[in-house]
């Protein structure tokens, strides 16, 4: 066996170019697998992360009526406590549930600004800065100025929105909104910072302001439109959600409030998990395709070495030894190619994981409501690299069975007679 491995290894050097091409084919396929997988995992992770951070939290609590009309951002179905005890008491109760790390109130509402010849519609997000910065990465998206502070009439908005309003950081802007009492009311804010997040929604529609400012502006003291619960990781949602529902029920609020796991808040997310599975099949296919180069080469090799194979039978090698010889030879190509490809792929991922791949121009036509980041950061992970490597080795080795079986089936006399 050791000697067979030695022969198989030496055989690789018989036609260096041929071996090289086989290795390159495998390396290329495995590299694409590593990259594609890193990219897709990165994309899906970012979809999940954005969805959770900017839309649903791990668990989202809203009024049932609000949920029906969410797109209109109504203010008359707020979250304002359990049994009249107020929002803060409700938040504290929720925080008492095991594994709930944060309870985040958001007050989302429609607003507009007149630019002189046109009204720009926007969406205001009144949030608690400290919690918000802890939970989301919004602070990292600040490219100019600073973040808003509680108690101040300050807003922060995306680059796209600022351009539409024709304003700059430092400017004052008067924003109009419909209050909870259905009266139109304008408030003047100072723009203290500018965001560039890659999320169209945050870039072009949303402006951030302190929760207290939003509450007093809209006459919604001690109220929010939603509460987001954050657990230490999203895997805990299935465990925590029933307890949240139980709490709501115990306070006679299950008729009024709806508690939703993050998975339930988007039609897209279940498909993402499915996509991962489908892509895994595609990767196998991709490597199989590259294996055709190896199979083809090996069939040629078996033909060329027919006489040698006959001689080996004469020496007393069994068919299974000859099968092994060729599988080892193909396996080495698989191992070297896969290793090379896995390394190259992870280097590429490593690079793009830092710089990101910008799809903003390709995504220009997408709806702004889609929480989908236009800069995708492929994930470079050891698991991914190892997966692609093992996939490459297994698929190539199995593919080599085809030519190897041909070799093993040769009758010694037939093989020896070959010219």
């Amino acid at each position: 066996m050791k000697f067979l491995t030695k022969i198989a290894f030496k055989n690789l050097f018989r036609h260096k170019l041929r071996t090289f091409i086989s290795i390159i084919a495998i390396a290329f396929a495995v590299m694409i697998v590593v990259f594609a997988r890193g990219f897709i995992v990165g994309m899906i992770d970012s979809v999940f992360a954005d969805q959770i951070q900017y839309y649903s939290g791990h668990i989202k609590i809203v009024d049932r009526e609000y949920q029906q009309q969410e797109r209109l951002l109504p203010l008359n179905y707020p979250v304002d406590g359990l049994a009249g005890q107020g929002l803060n008491e409700m938040m504290d109760s929720l925080k008492g549930i095991e594994n709930v790390e944060m309870v985040i109130p958001r007050l989302k509402f429609g607003a507009m600004v007149s630019t002189g010849n046109e009204l720009v519609a926007m969406s205001g997000w009144g949030v608690n800065p400290i919690q918000e910065f802890q939970f989301t990465n919004i602070e990292d998206q600040l490219v100019e100025g600073r973040m808003f502070q509680p108690g101040q009439r300050e807003v922060v908005m995306g680059t796209g929105l600022l351009a539409k309003l024709n304003h700059q950081v430092g400017d004052k802007v008067t924003i109009l909104s419909n209050t909870a009492f259905n009266s139109l009311k304008g408030v003047t804010f100072k723009i203290v910072g500018r965001l560039a997040s890659g999320l169209k929604l945050l870039d072009e529609i949303v402006f951030y302001l302190p929760l207290d400012q939003a509450q007093s502006w809209l006459y919604m003291d001690d109220q929010s439109t939603e509460l987001l619960l954050v657990t230490s990781n999203r895997g805990l949602v299935d465990q925590v959600l029933p307890e949240v529902k139980e709490l709501l029920a115990s306070r006679d609020a299950e008729e009024r409030y709806l508690a939703l796991g993050y998975q339930e808040t988007s039609d897209l997310l279940p498909y993402m998990e499915l996509a991962k599975l489908i892509y895994n099949q595609i990767y196998i296919f991709l490597v199989l395709l590259a294996s055709i180069v190896v199979i083809n080469t090996m069939i040629m090799i078996v033909k060329e070495r027919t006489k040698e194979i006959g001689m080996m039978s004469a020496l007393g090698l069994e068919s299974k030894n000859i099968l092994q010889l060729f599988i080892i030879e193909g396996g080495i190509i698989g191992i070297i190619g896969s290793l090379l490809g896995a390394l190259l792929g992870s280097i590429i991922n490593e690079y793009f994981a830092v710089t990101g791949i910008d799809f903003s121009s390709a995504m220009a036509g997408f709806s702004s409501e889609l929480v989908f980041n236009s800069i995708i950061y492929p994930v470079s992970s050891t698991a991914n690299t190892v997966f692609a490597f093992i996939l490459g080795v297994i698929v190539v080795t199995i593919a080599c069975m085809i030519p190897a079986r041909r070799a093993a089936k040769l009758e010694p006399t037939e093989a020896l007679r070959e010219i």
Binding site: F3, K6, I7, K307, A314, L315, G316, L317, T413
Partner: protein
């Protein structure tokens, strides 16, 4: 007990619908230690006969007994084992493994049969290479050797496992007469020193002088079988 007994061996090849009878009833007994040549015109069935004897092929009918075992009864694996431990082959076109050195080509055969210590293995390979006159050429690849040298490596490979039987199918056909003499002398020497049974085919009359027994084949049948008086003596 004889080393080999062939009874009523027939072999028919099928070429499409045409039947080609290559052997037409061969009866033959070979004793241990015999140095036998099989000769006859091209197409007479020499290679076919050697392949049957070497367990590479099965006769269409007839019985071959090798060291008391009936080959027809053996499985593919058993036949491979029989070849591995008991038969050495030397072919007209050497059939060395091109990526292995002279040493490694011989080593391969030992590795298959012996699980000895590294040092012993090495000594055995070196000894047999020296015996066939290849001292100093151990590290050469087949393409760095002359035809005669290659054939000597092949002989060393066949002999190193000390098989009961060595089959050589036209071992000197690709060699000039000087080299072919040298190669044959190596085989004779091995036959005398180790008592190995040799059967080789040829159609070169000069080569036949070396044999202790001459079997002539014509049209797939033995037409003559004679033993030389006494032992062969080298001049």
């Amino acid at each position: 007990m004889s080393l080999l007994e062939l009874k009523g061996i027939r072999k028919v090849y099928h070429q499409g619908k045409i039947e080609v009878p290559a052997l037409r009833g061969v009866d033959l007994t070979i004793e241990e230690g015999e140095f036998t040549t099989v000769f006859g015109p091209s197409g007479s069935g020499k290679t076919t006969l050697l392949n049957m004897i070497g367990c590479l092929d099965k006769p269409s009918s007839g019985v071959i007994t090798f060291a008391g075992r009936e080959l027809g009864q053996l499985s593919k694996k058993d036949l491979a084992m029989l070849r591995r431990y008991n038969v050495g082959f030397v072919f007209q076109s050497y059939n060395l493994i091109p990526v292995l050195t002279a040493y490694e080509n011989v080593e391969f055969a030992v590795r298959l049969t012996t699980k000895g210590r590294e040092k012993e293995l090495r000594e055995r390979v070196m000894a047999i290479l020296a015996a066939v006159g290849l001292e100093g050429l151990e590290a050469r690849k087949p393409n760095e050797l002359s035809g005669g040298q290659k054939q000597r490596v092949a002989i060393a490979r066949a002999l190193v496992k000390e098989p009961k039987l060595v089959l050589a199918d036209e071992p000197s056909a690709n060699l000039d007469s000087q080299t072919s003499t040298e190669v044959l002398e190596v085989m004779v020497k091995m036959n005398q020193e180790l008592g190995t049974t040799f059967i080789f085919s040829t159609h070169d009359p000069q080569v036949m002088d070396y044999a202790g027994r001459m079997i002539e084949i014509r049209d797939g049948q033995i037409s003559e079988d004679k033993r030389r008086e006494g032992q062969y003596v080298s001049d």
